[in-house]
Amino acid sequence: MATVLGKKKTVRINGCVAAAQAAKYADVDVIAAYPIRPYTATMMALAQMVANGELDAEYIVADSEHSQLSIAHGASSSGARVFTGSSGVGVHFAFELYSPISGSRMPVQMMIADRTLDPPGDFGSEHTDALATRDMGWLMGWSCDAQEAFDNHLMGYRIGEDPRVLLPQMVCQDGFFVSHITSEVDLPDPGQVKEFLPPYKHPYPLDPRHPVSHGPQIMPEQGPPLQLERARAMEGSMPVIEEIHEEFAKIFGRRYDPWIEEFMTDDADVVFFLQGAHAVTGRYAIRHMRERGAKVGLVRLRTFRPYPTDRVREVLSKFKVVGVIETNMGLGSVSSGGSLYAEVCGALYESDRRPLVHSFMAGMGGEAIVLKEFYWMTQKMLEAQKRGKIEKRTHWVGFED
């Protein structure tokens, strides 16, 4: 049995299945599954592919998310290409493993379909699950639709496994808004994938013919150089990420800016800054507001780690007001809203033309951000622009007039 890939075609699938398809096209060797909504559908799709004989992989139903990530770590350390994933509290049950995996420089790939933590633990999407792991040395970014999810998974493997990078990747998509919304996805020709994604080859796997020791006990004075090396790997991934996005565009014909997508920002005064699926509603709302003469645009961050500080500064310095749509909890944080605000303001600190910045707590609990709320937030930004200062740092959208 070997993995079987069909001809290039367009299919109607949701984000979960798109992620599973990408894992199949990447011909993964080991899959570590554990059920939690909403990402479960990805593992269901992969289980069926293995059962059908379309994908030759070891499909392991783990006993917990902690075990999922340990299985992924062990398999990746042995030289296998690995796929795993989770949502919500499951992402956190595995938390211990994130630093060891990036520290041993194993390019494990993890699919995340965001879900709120407990409470409220509802099935809706909040980015807090993945964002809480943001400083663990994983490459991380959000897709806003199924096609982009498929593409990000393929690019994730290529970037993470690049010998200049060797870092694990969290390929995130909003639960339900992407994971369970069906849309058209172009599945590539197997030849294109073969050209783009060479087989995984770690330089120092656990191989009895070339014995190595992974992860020995480290004395305090030996720690700093190892930490610096990991930090450099993260920094050093930035040119590789750009190079690989360029190559992806050449081979597959879909071009993404690796860091930031701008929508109707050319002459904009005020812009939204967000990640993930709410950008889709946002674009619609902006078109509508543009028709009414508001100079509003949208900036969508595509890669959160490594964080494109300079790019964020350059882009956002063009505007008068920035409204950060959080979709995450940063309890007691800088803005007392979400954690994205501090990332934005940190990037803008060195700018000589700092815009005003709002933190908008919207989409919390996985609620959709409806058009009316986009209009309301735009109104707040326009008022701030007129006034020359913000009314207050953080707005809980839907709780104020």
């Binding site: 062990g74 350390s77 042995s78 020995p216 480290i218």
Partner: protein
């Protein structure tokens, strides 16, 4: 491309006239996957076990070391004692990391990405990892039947962190988390988790056995049986800890025999084909538990009634093994026939001053 069949190793069993030649045995493999120069204590039971185990498995081996004393004391950065691939994993990841290595080799060999015979994949988990924090991960690996051997090197405590009680610490055992005192004169009140039998009962398709560093050839043969068994195997090995048990350094192997001879560590195998326990192992002699206890400082506080409690526990184990109890052991289970440890009174005085 058709799937490539996975070739597996078959290791021959060693001959031993008495289930445990004590010193040199001409059959011993020459290979040393675990070399000297590490930082374990003199007489360290777990590292003696490590050497025997890896000798038995040979060079086509991958070792997995969850956090524990065999991680911290062995694997100093840039200076590890392993001549075969070795990887650290988290203390709760013993079974899962090992499962990942096993799954990777199954897939890579089948898909033609790695060529060679399937390696011996061995996890060396301490009893804290195996009986507490990593229990579910090990159970998962056994249940899913990955072709690997999971060893619990059982020194009956968390030794790496400075001697704390695990669920394998025996009744009466003093640790820093189970000290004796006026309110709790016996120190640890709970009996150890019957870990190996739990693994055999819950995963009957696996080869499961108990062993002791006191019987090296028996230990090495059980390692080889576990590795030859296609699927998961589990071995729990008594490995005394000089620091935690507080005994004279040269007595490690003696304790490894005494613990079996006094019935506190029954030696058995679970046969997965016949689905039954093999209790035929018989030590050369049977002794009262006091002979084992009196060599160790961790039991120095025990009163006669506590020793009798442990003797009753040992007698139950003999009963389980199908052994007829001799009269002296029945008498030794009654506190009237026993004396407190010589230092018990002194220990009580010290405890009052704390």
């Amino acid at each position: 491309m058709p799937a490539i069949e996975v070739q597996r190793q078959m290791l021959p069993l060693l001959n031993s006239p008495n289930q445990g030649a004590r010193f040199y045995n001409p059959d011993l493999p020459e290979t040393e996957p675990f070399v000297p120069g590490h930082r374990t204590c003199a007489g360290c039971g777990p590292s003696i076990q490590y050497r025997m185990t890896s000798k038995a498995s040979g060079d086509n081996t991958i070792l997995v070391g969850p956090t524990g004393c065999m991680y911290v004391a062995n694997s100093s950065y840039l200076c590890t004692p392993y001549n075969v691939p070795w990887a650290h994993t988290q203390i709760g990841s013993a079974g899962s990391f090992t499962a990942g290595v096993a799954a990777a080799y199954e897939a890579m060999i089948r898909k033609g990405k790695w060529k060679g015979a399937y390696p011996n994949i061995i996890c060396e988990a301490g009893d804290g990892s195996a009986s507490d924090i990593g229990l579910a991960s090990i159970s998962g690996a056994l249940y899913r039947n990955h072709d690997c051997l999971i060893i619990c090197y059982d020194n009956e405590q968390y030794a790496n962190t400075g001697i704390q009680a695990s669920s394998r610490t025996p009744y009466g055992g003093m640790t820093t988390f189970s000290p004796p005192g006026p309110m709790i004169p016996e120190a640890k009140k709970l009996f150890p988790k019957d870990l190996a039998r739990m693994m055999a009962a819950g995963h009957p398709h696996c080869y499961v056995a108990t062993a002791s560093v006191g019987y090296p050839i028996d230990l090495m043969n059980k390692v080889r049986k576990g590795l030859n068994h296609k699927g998961a195997a589990y071995l729990m090995v008594y490995t005394p800890c000089q620091k935690g048990f507080v005994y004279e350094t040269p007595r490690s192997i003696d304790l490894g025999r005494l613990v079996v001879e006094c019935g506190l560590y029954p030696m058995w195998e679970w046969n997965p084909e016949q689905r039954e326990f093999d209790y035929s192992f018989r030590p050369a002699s049977m002794r009262p538990v006091s002979e084992y206890l009196k060599l160790q400082g961790r039991f120095g506080h025990l009163q006669a009634e506590h020793i009798a409690t442990l003797q009753r526990f040992a007698n139950q184990q003999w009963h389980m093994m199908g052994v007829e109890l001799p009269e002296p052991l029945i008498r030794a289970a009654d506190a009237k026939n026993l004396a407190a440890m010589a230092s018990a009174e002194a220990a009580a005085v010290v405890a009052q001053t704390v």
